[in-house]
Symmetry: C2
Subunit: 422 residues, 2 copies
């Protein structure tokens, strides 16, 4: 029965039942973490052949080049081809980084501040005001970078097909608006994928800032939960139609393919962008870790093996998503929440009654279940409606997740009743 159709008395009674249940959970001394988009150890074991690989000769060679030594600023040709194949991005546009795509994003914006882009009127640090579009709910670490670097963060709503493009198109008429964060596939934390129309509007929109940049963080490019995953349109190809390929800075990594701690990150950019970036990158480093690039190459051998590997991981994660969604489904009759049902990625977004996300987070925390803090999905950690929670089902074990979901169900219901009884 829908909670809001219950009488006060019915609600009071239900509340008492839930409170009793809640105290039982609290007494269990749980210590569960559903907070971060981290793979579970079982997932990491799937990559065992990667990190146990013995890199003796000839495996440490790339052609005639000894990869143990210095050099190869752009990354090994094999690794560039790996990502080109995986992402459908031209190999010549690809630069290989270290173990962190976040670092490549941060470094890109630091370069923009100090040098500007090739088509910038001036270095961004010298702009009187700089603003950045944040699609919400979104990824806290993205928002933190632009906050740290002194951008005013402007929220735009995520809709089912991608960012609210009417809002984006209006905002980019302001020349102080320099860019937008996008996780275009299985977006963090909503799990949806931008449609062709959205990608096209992003690629073709008229920006007042000549050096506007789309930070295209395709972190979940091949992270489907089942055989029929979402299809993300090729933004480079579409942007080219409008002569706007310089607008795209494209990022990805193997963090959630092999190991988060020891994967390989990449960045793809147009020829004009690369021409400006490479000399600066060449001052920053002689080259990233090539041996780890080769480990990936030898572990995967071909793209069929990547696909099989991702399907294995997808099945593991899929069970956890199913369990979490099952719990949420059990809340449907009460009509107290909405949630996303992604085909891939690492997150589910749970939308609660206005003003109750923080309450659910606190209840969960007191019962020993850590969620991503309420507000983390919004700039400056403030969700103005206090209604969004990000659920990350991958890290806990099946048993832990089962328990965590049960506690979540109780807390969501309890908070909803509290709101109704106010």
């Amino acid at each position: 029965m829908k909670y809001r159709e219950m009488s006060r008395e019915q609600l009071q009674k239900e509340k008492q039942l839930l409170e009793n249940k809640y105290e039982e959970y609290c007494a269990m001394g749980l210590k569960l973490d559903l907070s971060r988009g981290k793979p579970n150890g079982e997932q990491l074991d799937v990559s065992e052949g990667f990190y146990t690989l013995s890199m003796q000769k000839p495996l440490c060679m790339s052609g005639n080049m000894d990869c143990r030594n210095y050099g190869v600023l752009e990354g090994l040709p094999e690794m560039r081809a790996f990502f080109a194949d995986l992402l459908g991005v031209p190999k010549e546009n690809i630069l290989i980084g270290g173990n962190s795509s976040l670092q490549l994003m941060f470094d890109s914006l630091m370069r923009a501040l100090v040098f500007g882009f090739f088509n910038s009127p001036k270095p961004w640090l010298q702009e009187e005001k700089r603003k950045w579009i944040c699609v919400v709910p979104g990824y806290d670490r993205h928002f933190r970078i632009t906050e740290q670097l002194g951008f005013e963060l402007i929220s735009v709503d995520m809709k089912e097909d991608g960012p609210d493009m009417d809002a984006v198109e209006a905002l980019v008429k302001d020349p102080a608006v320099k860019g937008i964060w996008c996780v275009p596939k299985y977006s963090n934390p909503t799990g949806n994928t931008y449609t062709e129309e959205i990608v096209r509007r992003l690629a073709k929109m008229e920006c007042a800032a000549p050096d506007f940049r789309i930070m295209w963080d395709n972190a979940y490019a091949v992270h489907d939960l089942n055989e029929k995953g979402d299809i993300l349109p090729d933004i480079f190809a579409i942007a080219k139609e409008y002569g706007n390929e310089d607008r795209i800075l494209y990022f990805s990594s193997t963090s959630k393919i092999t190991l988060p701690g020891a994967g390989v990150a990449m960045m793809a950019a147009s020829e004009a962008n690369r021409k400006q970036i490479l000399p600066i990158l060449g001052s920053q480093t002689i080259g990233y870790d090539k041996i780890n690039q080769l480990r990936h190459i030898h572990f995967f051998e071909n793209s069929e093996r990547v696909h099989a590997h991702m399907m294995r991981l997808g099945r593991m994660i899929g069970h956890k998503f199913a369990k979490t969604l099952g719990t949420l489904e059990s809340l449907a009759p009460m009509d107290i929440a909405e949630w996303t049902k992604p085909n891939g990625g690492y997150f589910i977004t749970l939308k609660l009654k206005t003003g109750s996300a923080k309450r659910v987070y606190d209840l969960m925390a007191r019962a020993g279940v850590v969620l991503t803090p309420a507000g983390a999905t919004h700039p400056h950690g403030i969700d103005p409606t206090d209604s969004v929670l990000r659920l990350a089902p991958t890290y806990p074990s099946h048993e832990e997740l089962q328990l965590g979901c049960e506690v979540l169900s109780v807390c969501v219901r309890l908070a909803a009743i509290e709101t109704l009884l106010k």
Copy 2:
């Protein structure tokens, strides 16, 4: 016989002999590279147990932490202890990076430009003028960073005991002078080590810029060629005596201990510096590659093994230094050059007659032997006296080095005679 005591006729005759010899070398179609401070494959083989290490459990664990996953911004405690032990720097001051200490240096200066240091009047990019002290001959990649980042580079001579401190002390009275590059042990390319007096003067000097920084690149900290290596005084301890520990940014790496392409870099800084750096670093990355940190830990086990490892490498490099120095000794009777005789590191500096370094470089190149370009040891690639060449004996094989040295001997003599006959 000294060349400058020869008659013109004697010189002409000697020149003819040398030219014939030179043409013989040219006809051999040599392809030798004595240009970069790269280890030879034989050296890299000494680390074989490192890059063939299978990182299955429990080796991928640090205590209870699974290092395959995200996290640990400052680096693993074991790796921080490793560097603390190796360098005599307090463990709590140490941050672990990726595979490149150059990157940590570049990133430090980028942060200074965008944010300033904690004791900066303003972000360095907003300073009207910024200047940087470069000890010459010095390391081209250092100079390139500060050149790229818009500093005016000011040369100060390297003396036997370290930088010309009278000159440095005079320069730092200018508040626009923001820092100095130092390779304090087995300096690149002179191979000398700063004495206690020099280190003390650097630590205690009065700087007009409150945020003056010494970029202390201790790249060759344990890279002795024999049992009795040079001793570098502890700059952190000395700076502390004067309350100037915030002045030091200390860098090192295992690039020339294990692998240049896949080593681990570190940075050490005072508590006040770290306090400012960490939140920014935490926006840049979730953490560097911990599995590679663990590979180092498990490969070396204890500091005796590091010592034995470095002695093995030292003996290999020592033979090559001996061969190179032997060739240079054979030039002594002609009194046409001077050179350094380091106890460690990767380089020998060859000082020729004024105006002949570029000529020797060109002659060598035509004979198929690549040297570090003349001028590379100076800011903007310009050696005002055109007299300095950097020799890097490690990369070629013994046979290649033997040949390279023979060609060098002929080219140095030929260029000297050309100068005398002018």
